[in-house]
Symmetry: C2
Subunit: 89 residues, 2 copies
């Protein structure tokens, strides 16, 4: 079976808990690697999502990549944080 | 000469620009490695500081470590982002 990879963009309207549930559901359905990307004010939330996921899944996940940078959106430059989470087994 | 390392905690009251200036000053005074740590709402600002530093210093700095986690402060758990910046030469 091919491993599935997905990227989710952290939403300003969804809660941390909603995103955590969404990610766990994706993993249960066969996604082995998920990139979580948060822009601007959602960067905090991105870290909160990771911490809650880690609480729930413990050694079951690994933080395989962290990257930061910026992109131009609507003519404004905005910072982002990207976390790649991989199923550990 | 011993390399100097420093850690700064991102402040809710200082601007991104103030922190960037502070870090550049430290580097000019011989600090070769600086850890920038932002908690909670200051996590966004931590990424903004890095991006502005990178704009100003370009290849002169490297992001040598990124870590995320949480700590208990005033009986509440709070997420943090820690970036380690190293002078490239
Ligand atoms: Zn030295």
């Amino acid at each position: 079976m091919m491993d599935k990879t997905a990227q989710i963009v952290v939403s300003s309207t969804k809660s941390v808990e909603d995103h955590v549930l969404e990610i766990i559901t994706m993993m249960n359905q066969g996604t082995s690697e998920i990139e979580i990307k948060g822009y601007g004010r959602e960067i905090n939330k991105t870290v909160d999502i990771y911490n809650q996921l880690k609480d729930k899944l413990g050694e079951g996940i690994k933080l395989s990549e962290t990257s930061i940078g910026s992109e131009v959106k609507d003519k404004k430059r905005i910072s982002y944080l990207l976390l790649r989470i991989t199923k550990a087994y």
